[in-house]
Symmetry: C2
């Protein structure tokens, strides 16, 4: 029965990134895996869509028997093309994104192509999980987190609400034996402090190249940042309703309201 589950796999590091291969190898034991991933790295593309140029889809056999397509667009474009063309509007049981090479904690969910792809699927009512390992290297070792990723996929397929639950999973870069377990937590109040590299190009033009440090302003022990710093895997249930309901109640007494 398990093999009838349809699992869509996407990422933002591109279809040749080791992280997506690791995720495919884990997921294929749970059902029919179909891959649609960008043909080039698409990190930090957030929820961007491609609208000013046409998109391309190309089937590839780099994953052997696994049906896979590379797409010229963003991670969110991949999800939309997967749904509309590759899967012909078949019901997707689970969307997995990643494994991202690098952290996607806290507000990074907004910048992250990995999480935006998972969010796009969740907006369509598909339970979705984005996985990120806290190791930016393209030689990152994903073996230590395999058992935990299996556990999370298994749990979601069996117990997910099937209503588009979105989970942001981050995994510390430590040996499997040192991982203390899985913590369900909230997004920390943390953000980037930019540190632009300024330079001059070969033609005398000034340029600015984005770099920076991620700074945690949150002392809570119920956050994803805390969990990772304490050797847990963090799982943040996330959503696409960005309404600030507390502020909404407060503002109803403003002069705005008719």
């Amino acid at each position: 029965m398990k093999n009838k589950q349809l699992i869509l796999i996407v990422n933002d590091d591109g279809i040749t990134a080791p992280g997506i291969k690791a995720l495919i190898n884990i997921a294929k034991d749970f059902g029919e895996v179909v891959v649609v991933a960008p043909d080039s790295p698409q990190s930090a593309k957030g929820h961007a869509l491609t609208i000013t140029v046409p998109l391309r889809l190309k089937e590839t056999d780099i994953f052997g028997d696994i049906k896979a397509f590379e797409c010229s667009g963003t991670p969110v474009d991949c999800v939309k093309l997967a749904k509309n063309f590759v899967l012909g509007n078949r019901k997707i049981d689970l969307c997995l994104s990643g494994i991202n090479h690098g952290s996607n904690v806290s507000s990074n969910i907004l910048y992250s192509g990995t999480m935006s792809a998972a969010m796009e699927a969740s907006m369509e009512g598909v339970d979705s999980i984005g996985f990120s390992l806290l190791d930016f290297s393209m030689k990152a070792d994903f073996s230590q987190c395999t058992a935990y990723i299996k556990q999370i996929i298994d749990h979601e397929l069996a117990h997910g609400p099937k209503t588009g639950r979105l989970l942001n999973v981050n995994i510390p870069k430590i040996a499997a034996a040192d991982i203390k377990g899985i913590k369900v937590c909230r997004q920390a109040n943390a953000r980037w402090k930019e540190n632009y590299v300024e330079g001059t190009d070969p033609y005398g033009g000034k340029y600015y190249w984005l770099s920076g440090d991620f700074v945690n302003h949150d002392t809570g022990e119920d956050t994803d940042v805390w969990a990772l710093e304490n050797n847990y895997i963090s799982v943040v249930p996330s959503m696409h309703d960005l309404t600030d309901h507390k502020m909404l109640e407060k503002m109803k007494s403003d002069h705005y309201q008719s």
Copy 2:
């Protein structure tokens, strides 16, 4: 005293779009206006950042006495460069984004460069407002909403919490006399139904070009979609904490939790 307020203006339609000019003309009465906007249209770029190529900033006098820069990056890049270089980390009193040519209701806040720029400033603790007129035309008439935009800016400068409140303001495409007022509301549960244009390029390659319809699945009368359909200007207080706190409480009883 009013003239001491520092107002940053950004957009996603590009620095030459009529909407940003209309917004500058309204905002300049409230303080010192500084503009940093993309040098090309950046619609649907979401919260994308430019990380693989360097960015450029170029001063321009297209707004006369108003200090203005065009930037080669995304709307979010514009905010980061404004803060770090153009404004040299001066305290920004208010960030305004738009006026967008077209709607940014409901979940469009995630795809929208206009709203992502405002959200980026709000993440830095700056009260921020994104304005959108429900008219995609580059010849859109912004005159009917001038008085309302003035009212909203005036209110925010006087009563904003100064903690990074983010407002998503959408304005119906109707005559000023027909606008019934301003409604503070929640984001509707609505989403895009894609309708890709498929074609063949001059070299025989297949392409897919994104188009679609925005479909409202929400029958509530407290949403932005309802407000606009009933001739109100919608104001949705929004946030960047995407944690699904209800789901978080529910999941704490899952087997995940240690």
